[in-house]
Every structure is written in structure tokens, then in C-alpha cells.
Amino acid sequence: MTHTAAPTVSVHVMLFARYAEIMGADALALELPAPATVAHVVAALRARPGGAGLPVRPLCAVNLVQVPPEHPVASGDEIAILPPMAGG
């Protein structure tokens, strides 16, 4: 094993409503091995304290647009984990 730095992506994660409560934060920064997808972001969150309360496949948005779990994420992206919508 070498000490060469592996490539990573750094993303901003936004949490809302019940998910913000169970994670104890409404925003946090994550660094993931590249290449990464939304599903990798969710898996990283679920490994954190309180994260077991998140669904395996929550609704997610990247840069304000809803995307499926296999959507790639890039450094600087804003990844939002969305509880079931309850407007109206």
C-alpha cells in the first residue's frame, strides 16, 4: 500500500425536517472516494451517528434537481436528502 493520495470528491450535504433532527445537523461536508454517486453519499450518512434512521433510498436532489441514486456527484455539488414531501 502506497501513501499516494487517492482522488476524492468533496460535497455539501443538506438535511431537512425529520432527517435533520435524527442526524443532529442541517448541513455538513463529506469527502468521498472518487468516483462517487448519490448512493455513496447516502451510505456515508447512514454510517454516521443517527444515520440508521435514514432510508436506504431517500429522495435526493443534486444542485436543486431531484435525481436517482446512481446519479454521479462532483466536488462542490449540493446534495440534499429529502424526507417525503408534505407541502400544500
Partner: protein, 152 residues
């Protein structure tokens, strides 16, 4: 125009925004905080949103409806703490004829509920509260219910 507002919604102002001499019908909908839900007495509701995405999604929904029904649409959704009887959402849709006005209004209401990242926490008459999950089984008391100290 922004769809999210922290101050009370004025439905008459929304209707006025979409009226035009060529439009013969204005259908509108106002969603109000009810005093009950799933058998529980509701005291008030707190709406919160992912503001930037909610505004973008509302703008997309309005644009879709305006194009599909050749209509003028105004949409407002309240965020923050609402008392029973206050308006949470108002949609006004004006079109040449009533079929298009009704269809466009209904579409916008339904799509806001389906697509716009807004959440609500119900505060019950007994002081408990819960996040509302419309995907949960109807009639079940929300799973996330918990005691909560009211601020201020």
C-alpha cells in the same frame, strides 16, 4: 415572483395578478390549516422548506401549467408557524374558459404536494408534535411523534 412567503397569503392579490380581459375564468384553491388530522386535534402547523429548490420547483410547475393550458398562474406557499384556519397554499389559475382554469389549478396544487420540498410538523392540542409523512399509512399516527418543548 417568489412562491414561498413567511407572511400571510392574500388570495385576492393572487387572483388579481392573473386576471386579464381575454381570460374568462379564474379557478383558485386555498389550503387551510385544519383543526384535525388522522383523528388528532391539531393546534398549529410548522412548515419548512428547502428554499432554493422549492422556489425552482414551483417556478417549473407554474411554467408547465401556463404552457399546457395557455393560462396565467399565481402560486404562494406559506412557511413558518401557522395557526388553524390560516392559508398554507394558494393557487390561482386564469384561462379563457373554465375547463382550462380548473385543470390548471388542480395540476399546480397536486404537483406542489408531489414535487416541492416542503415539510410540515403538526403540533397537537396535547402539546406533542410529529412530522407529517403523506406516504405513511392513512390513519396511522406519524412514527416520528415526540414530545417537544415549545420555544417562546
Amino acid at each position: 415572483m417568489a412562491a414561498l412567503t413567511r407572511t400571510p397569503i392574500d388570495p385576492a392579490a393572487l387572483t388579481a395578478r392573473v386576471q386579464a380581459p381575454s381570460r374568462g375564468g379564474v379557478a383558485s384553491f386555498v389550503g387551510l390549516v385544519r383543526d384535525h388530522h388522522a383523528g388528532l386535534a391539531v393546534a398549529r402547523l410548522e412548515y419548512s422548506a428547502y428554499d432554493a429548490m422549492a422556489e425552482a420547483e414551483c417556478a417549473r410547475i407554474v411554467a408547465e401549467a401556463e404552457q399546457r393550458w395557455t393560462a396565467g398562474i399565481a402560486l404562494a406557499h406559506r412557511v413558518g408557524m401557522l395557526e388553524v384556519g390560516e392559508a398554507a397554499i394558494c393557487v390561482a389559475a386564469a384561462a379563457a374558459h373554465r375547463d382550462a382554469a380548473f385543470a390548471a389549478c388542480r395540476f399546480v396544487v397536486d404537483e406542489v404536494k408531489r414535487r416541492v420540498p416542503i415539510w410540515k410538523r403538526e403540533v397537537y392540542a396535547d402539546g406533542t408534535d410529529a412530522w407529517v409523512d403523506p406516504t405513511a399509512v392513512e390513519g396511522a399516527r406519524p412514527a416520528a411523534m415526540h414530545e417537544r418543548q415549545e420555544a417562546g
